[in-house]
């Protein structure tokens, strides 16, 4: 695991998040993010609550295409999938051009460019909380993920890193870890 320079972290434990109103996301899509936040709050004493106010939320989530005015334009299908800023920025941007799979088994998708939304959300939340990239391939914070792949379970490396920043959730008993990927198949990036 790694941290951003200076190990920035949130100084409060109850964080809020909101979706960009312009995206008009369905409840199914929002539920994916809720599950992703839950995976982190299981192991650290932080809570994440959805709010409707994007202006006051600690974390702002939005899908954007191409240049979206933060100096890091998205590049269409595949390539870069999303990015997120270190604490206490809270900015979480996803590439609106990707073919995001929201429900069901992404590994069986007929679309070779299908990307599992929850897998990417769990990774980017790691950045929002202060984690950098890891060389541990089984970890959520490993930088790349093949299309039609699901990887949503925090690995020991992720948990050790995030607990260095925030300590452990008192209710965490260590049973939610996985040292191997939950499921992985798929292409090596759309050249199938």
């Amino acid at each position: 695991y790694s941290f951003f320079t200076g190990m920035p972290r949130w100084r409060k434990q109850a964080l809020t998040y909101a979706f960009s109103p312009g995206n008009q996301l369905t409840d199914d899509v929002k539920a994916v993010f809720s599950r992703a936040f839950d995976r982190w709050s299981t192991v650290i004493p932080l809570t994440f609550t959805q709010t409707d106010s994007i202006n006051t939320a600690d974390i702002q989530i939005g899908f954007y295409r191409g240049d979206h005015q933060d100096g890091e334009p998205f590049d269409g299908v595949l390539g870069t999938l999303a990015h997120a800023f270190s604490p206490p920025s809270g900015k979480f941007h996803l590439d609106g051009d990707e073919n995001w799979v929201v429900t069901g088994d992404v590994t069986t998708s007929s679309l070779t460019t299908a990307v599992d939304l929850e897998s990417v959300a769990v990774h980017e939340i790691g950045h929002l909380l202060g984690l950098g990239h890891s060389s541990v391939e089984e970890s959520i914070m490993y930088p790349s993920i093949s299309s039609r792949t699901k990887k949503v379970v925090l690995a020991t490396d992720d948990i050790q890193g995030i607990q260095m920043l925030y300590g452990s959730n008192p209710n965490y008993n260590g049973s939610s870890t996985a040292s191997v990927r939950e499921k992985e198949t798929g292409s090596s990036g759309g050249h199938r």
Binding site: D28, E72, V77, G79, L111
Partner: protein
């Protein structure tokens, strides 16, 4: 675009489903240091974007130069690939994988594999006679 995994995908979307902005890099597989190949400048820009080539370098050429070889070695180390400094198939296949847009190296600093110090003393063989 949001889908459940079991939905039938529209034909026009399937046709466009192979457009990966990095798939061009497959053409660079097998390139060697010291030579020049069309498109290497783009690959250098890729590595600079993710922190493997310093921001101080610009106006990239298509030469397979020391900066690219160094970037490749660091990248290969970070992603647990064979550290060859070459554009072998294994490396190129990894480079084109979709990924997070956050850089792996910021201001030359990283805690991924390449940022870890290696204990050179481990190269010595210590023996004890019995």
């Amino acid at each position: 675009h949001f889908f459940p995994s079991n939905v039938s995908i529209p034909e026009d979307l399937l046709k466009n489903s192979t457009s990966n902005p990095w798939s061009f890099f497959h053409n660079l597989s097998g390139c060697h240091a010291g030579e020049k190949y069309d498109g290497l400048a783009k690959l250098k820009s890729y590595f600079q974007y993710f922190g493997y080539i310093p921001d101080s370098l610009s106006n990239f050429t298509d030469d397979f130069d020391d900066a690219l070889e160094s970037a490749l070695r660091t990248y290969q180390r970070n992603f647990n690939l064979n550290v060859t400094g070459q554009l072998d198939n294994q490396t190129v296949n990894h480079v084109v994988r979709p990924r997070c847009g956050n850089p792996d190296i910021v201001n030359g600093s990283t805690s991924m594999n390449s940022g870890k110090t290696h204990n050179t003393s481990s190269n010595h063989v210590h023996t004890v006679s019995h």
